[in-house]
């Protein structure tokens, strides 16, 4: 609060004078006036803060926070969701193959001659397969952790978006990220987001077609 505000000081002095002089009819309007002045000063300070925030957001190198909020946070969330999906699919592939293997093993064990000759090896093999089966529980555990992180990231994105908009930015006007040639050279990893699938080939067959065009 600005203690040097002359209007506030003057109104306060008038109020003291009115109280001392017992000018009761002036007391209520002066208190109202004081309240108005104080509210005005809070609004001024808030608008200064908002203006500072707007400038600070603009002055960050490459509008970092704006770009991060609009592009990187949703990108991170989408990537984490794809991780859940990849883990889920991988786990199901393993489980399907395990079920097939266990059925094959049962066939072997149901043959009396084979069971008699290789009983302990077959039992050991079943134990190994069962251990692989239990190990697939990682999918549930990692999935729960990832869901939690996605929730936190989304909440953070919403809060930052509200902050940016309240600082007077046009959210829709914030540009999207473009990959630089240096980033492509370093490698950008699996193209698991919608944005990253642009210019990406879907599968080995498409890659092979391109390679054979290039004589490889």
């Amino acid at each position: 609060m600005n203690q040097q505000d002359p209007a506030l000081l003057e109104a306060a002095q008038q109020l003291v004078w009115a109280l001392q002089a017992q000018q009761t009819e002036q007391i209520a309007p002066l208190i109202d006036r004081l309240n108005q002045l104080q509210e005005g000063s809070i609004y001024t300070q808030l608008s200064t803060l908002a203006q500072n925030l707007h400038q600070t957001l603009d002055e960050l190198p490459d509008n970092t926070l704006l770009l991060q909020t609009k592009n990187d946070l949703p990108d991170a969330t989408e990537r984490l969701q794809s991780v859940i999906q990849i883990l889920d699919e991988a786990s199901h592939t393993t489980l399907t193959r395990l079920e097939n293997s266990m059925a094959l093993l049962s066939q072997l064990q149901s043959s009396p001659e084979i069971a008699a000759a290789h009983s302990s090896v077959l039992q050991d093999l079943r134990k190994e397969l069962e251990a692989i089966l239990s190990a697939q529980a990682y999918q549930d555990l990692t999935g729960q952790v990832l869901n939690r992180v996605i929730y936190v990231l989304s909440a953070l994105e919403q809060s930052l978006m509200a902050l940016i908009i309240s600082a007077g930015h046009d959210y829709a006007a914030i540009p999207s990220r473009q990959l630089t040639p240096e980033q492509l050279k370093q490698g950008v990893g699996p193209n698991v987001t919608q944005a990253s699938r642009q210019d990406a080939l879907d599968n080995q067959a498409d890659v092979d077609d391109l390679l054979s065009e290039l004589g490889i």
Binding site: G187, D202, Q204, V207, L210, L211, L214
Partner: protein
């Protein structure tokens, strides 16, 4: 075509699980001599010893990328003909073009199957045999 299954192979990937997968698939294909490196920067001095007949590398690694490793191999008079296979998640058209320009012999996108790996290795060594005859 008969491929020499005794050749020395270097498997380069920063993920140890992927190195294990590649090694096991190569083992299933009848190969038996492998070394591993976890980055282009650790692979390069190993390759410079001249020990390896075949390099299988990832692209995206922390210190030195697979594409940089490929460029170094191709720029070295002694090593330049070493067959080089990239196994990578990088699948942008521009990246595949870049790998081709850098002289890659084969390009596999992850995830991949044993059949794809076998097919690429066959193709690479057929081409090597043709090159040696020419």
């Amino acid at each position: 075509m008969q491929i020499n299954r005794d050749m020395n192979i270097l498997v380069v990937d920063d993920f140890s699980t992927m190195r294990r997968i590649v090694k096991n698939l190569l083992k299933e294909l009848g190969f038996s001599k492998f070394d591993e490196a976890d980055d282009g920067s650790t692979a390069w001095p190993m390759i410079q010893t001249g020990k390896y007949d075949f390099i299988v590398s990832d692209w995206n690694m922390p210190e030195m990328t697979g594409i940089e490793l490929l460029r170094r191999v191709r720029a070295d008079a002694q090593l330049k003909d070493t067959p080089f296979l990239l196994i990578t998640a990088e699948a942008k058209r521009s990246q595949i073009l870049e790998a081709a320009q850098a002289g890659v012999d084969g390009y596999i996108v992850k995830p991949f199957t044993a059949a794809t790996l076998n097919e690429k290795i066959q193709k690479i060594f057929e081409r090597v045999a043709q090159r040696q005859q020419a």
